[in-house]
């Protein structure tokens, strides 16, 4: 293992990290790209969408590894959360009934939306008109109700 890889304070990751290191790196690269992407011609409210989306995907990846596939240890899972590889708050929501697919935390904060209710993307597709296209303002989500 390379000696000077992390800040000296940081402990080496727990066993099993090497199994997922490459894939996490792909996420990190995507994230960097998204952060560096030009935001010209992108409406201001959409600038952060790619970042939200990659962050969502990475959290889901870590979540699946631990809860769905039992592929990583509790120790490694905790380490990943602590080191920002997954959003612990978002995952906490996923464990709740009705929030299994939640896109982002913003979309369940009632205060920030125009309608003083949760985001439009939380509305089940069954309740929408047939070809109504939804794209929530905060993260670009196209619908994340559990029944979708």
């Amino acid at each position: 293992m390379p000696a000077i890889r992390h800040a000296s304070k940081r402990k080496a990751p727990p066993a099993g990290f090497s199994d997922i290191e490459d894939d996490l790196l792909v996420f990190s690269n995507k994230m960097k790209d998204a952060e560096n992407a030009s935001s010209d011609n992108v409406p201001r409210h959409q600038v952060l969408w790619p970042i939200f989306q990659i962050s969502h995907q990475r959290s889901r990846y870590v979540y699946d590894l631990y809860y769905e596939k039992e592929a990583i240890s509790k120790e490694l899972y905790d380490w990943l959360l602590k080191n920002g590889y997954a959003d612990a708050m978002l995952i906490a929501k996923w464990k709740k009934t009705g929030y299994e697919k939640l896109c982002c935390l913003k979309c369940v904060q009632t205060k920030e939306t125009n309608f003083n209710s949760t985001c439009i993307c939380r509305v089940p597709k069954a309740q929408m008109k047939e070809d109504q296209v939804v794209e929530c303002v905060s993260c670009g989500c196209r619908g994340c109700a559990s029944s979708d």
Partner: protein, 573 residues
């Protein structure tokens, strides 16, 4: 099902409005300035956009275009439908899964549609401007809205009346033409147009076939992705409603009609059945027989592919898809929907990870205590205190192994030395107690003395006796043991052999299927080309003949109008 079009070719041009960019890391991404969308997934041109602007446009062209775009990008439908990043081209509907499920017809459709059809005439539909009725060379027809640039195979209800009028007009023309055989129909009318009307009444013969497909294919818009579905005659099924429509209004023209049409033309042109494309794709499919793999086999084949391709089971499925390593393998297509593939992936990766972890756990059993205890057995002596022993052997690997704490090394040393002072008999009893504590699966009469279970080797009691005395004790103990419960090792290899056989069998079934489908396709294509070639020749001749006198016909029509009420058309009744 086979989806042979999944071979990747050069990327298709980007749809209008999209531009390609390189991220600093070298990734390509795509941006649409108009819609402000960006995506890592290369957008496929919507077939509608490019085709409809060209006139005369051609429904089979739109299909071809779709085909050359090729396989829907493997990532379509995989990534979270939640975000437009990857899925903006995808509708919200569930059509994609359906389509994939029917993917087996891609290849054959391709060969069927390619060489042939194109529009040969346009007629404004009276009272329904800007709609026009377009006839194709093969006698199919569809309606086209020249203002909206839309076209439909299925004729919207509002146009039916106008088209009925148009048809009646043509029937009259045709009737006149028959009365005076030397007077040809106008060149703009398909030579066989009249046949379409004939067979409207026969359509109901095939209604029974409709059981497999639901009504979702009823209305198919050529401008849509799904337009391709229309190119597949036997799949185009009719619902009861349709049939009724057709009986009352002979304007509906669907794939069965086309099949009939082709057959009729074939007979007319003296072709044997089989020399024209009879449209009975379903039949030949069944004829080839036994081509369907069981679902179990399909899943197993897909897992074989995963095993053979060396993909990392820890990776997210989306990444596997993006890498595109799997799509070129025929085993990829044994599962026909992305959903099924993802489910199989989930199952496989879970199992694989479990296996890997078990394997690793086994390796970890190579306990650092074992080599250390062996070292103690050989070198420890009551003559040396721990610090002396430590200093004396500090350069030995057993004394430096970082996975064993120095504290533990010291503890083992002290314990070992103190045990060496015990009487032999109690050491012997201790060893036997240790051996007896082992489960039969780990220690039995098949155990080789040099491969004792780690639990024995890492126990301090194992090294207390001199090694030759100890080995004798162990050997006699092993001999007294019963055989292992269910000879697991043999079973393992038997199972492995069975698994290998299974895999070979599946592989062979797949190859057989591929080969037969390919043969069948070649045969179909030959027949199609041959039949179509003959038809083209004949049609060219007819066209030449018909080119003669438009004026003569017009005169004739005027005359016909005055007499039509008296002579009711035989085809109309």
């Amino acid at each position: 099902m086979l989806k042979s079009t999944h071979k990747s070719v050069a990327p298709p041009p980007l749809p209008e409005g999209w531009t390609e960019h390189k991220a600093p890391t070298g990734h390509s991404y795509y941006y649409n300035a108009a819609t402000k969308q960006s995506t890592y997934t290369r957008p496929n041109p919507p077939p509608a956009a490019s085709i409809l602007q060209s006139t005369p446009f051609d429904p089979s062209q739109s299909f071809l275009q779709y085909q050359t775009i090729g396989s829907p990008k493997p990532s379509a439908g995989v990534t979270s439908d939640r975000f437009p990043l990857q899925s903006h081209l995808q509708g919200r509907g569930a059509f994609h899964g359906q389509k994939a499920g029917r993917g087996g017809h891609y290849g054959s459709r391709n060969t069927r549609a390619q060489p042939t059809d194109k529009p040969i005439s346009r007629h404004p539909i009276p009272g329904c401007e800007p709609w026009v009725l377009v006839h194709t060379k093969l006698g199919r027809r569809f309606v086209y809205n020249s203002q909206k640039d839309e076209s439909f195979w299925r004729i919207p209800d509002k146009l039916k009346e106008g088209i009925l009028a148009l048809d009646q007009l043509r029937i009259k023309e045709k009737a006149k033409a028959q009365q005076i055989p030397t007077e040809p129909t106008p060149a703009t009318i398909a030579p066989s147009a009249i046949d379409q009307l004939d067979k409207a009444g026969r359509g109901d013969e095939k209604i029974g076939d409709g059981e497999l497909d639901s009504s979702e294919y009823e209305e198919v818009e050529v401008t849509d992705d799904e337009g391709e579905d229309d190119e597949n005659p036997p799949k185009r099924q009719r619902t009861g409603d349709d049939a009724q429509d057709e009986q009352s209004e002979p304007v509906e023209f669907n794939e069965d009609d086309i099949a009939y049409q082709l057959a009729a033309m074939g007979e007319e042109y003296g072709l044997d059945p089989g020399e024209y494309d009879d449209g009975n794709m379903d039949e030949w499919k069944e004829g080839v027989g036994g081509l369907e793999l069981t679902e179990e086999d399909s899943i197993a084949l897909f897992k074989d592919l995963l095993n053979d391709s060396g993909v990392n089971p820890y990776s997210p499925w989306e990444k596997i898809v993006e890498e595109g390593k799997l799509v070129d393998d025929t085993r990829y297509t044994t599962l026909t929907t992305m959903k099924a593939r993802k489910e199989t992936w989930d199952e496989w990766s879970r199992d694989k990870i479990k296996q890997l972890r078990a394997l690793r756990a086994k390796e970890e059993k190579k306990d650092p205590r074992i080599p250390y205890l062996t070292f103690l057995q050989n070198h420890a002596t009551p003559k040396l205190y721990w610090p002396e022993f430590k200093r004396k052997f500090k350069k030995e690997p057993e004394m430096r192994d970082s996975s064993l704490a120095d504290k533990d090394r010291e503890k083992f040393y002290r314990e070992h030395i103190s045990r060496l002072k015990l009487p032999q008999s109690s050491l012997k009893a201790d060893l036997i107690a240790l051996l007896q504590a082992q489960p039969l699966s780990a220690l039995n009469n098949a155990t080789i003395a040099s491969h004792l279970p780690p639990a024995v080797l890492s126990d301090i009691r194992y090294i207390s006796l001199a090694s030759d005395t100890r080995d004798m004790v162990i050997e006699s103990h092993i001999q007294s043991l019963p055989p292992p419960p269910g000879s697991t090792e043999e079973e393992d290899s038997e199972e492995a052999a069975k698994a290998r056989m299974d895999k070979l069998r599946r592989q062979k079934a797949l190859e057989d299927r591929e080969r037969k489908v390919a043969e069948e396709k070649r045969r179909q294509q030959r027949h199609l080309e041959f039949g179509k070639g003959r038809l083209r020749e004949e049609e060219a001749e007819i066209a030449r003949a018909m080119n003669v006198t438009k004026k003569g016909l017009r005169d004739h029509l005027v005359e016909a109008d005055s007499t039509e009420k008296a002579t009711e058309n035989p085809h109309d009744g």
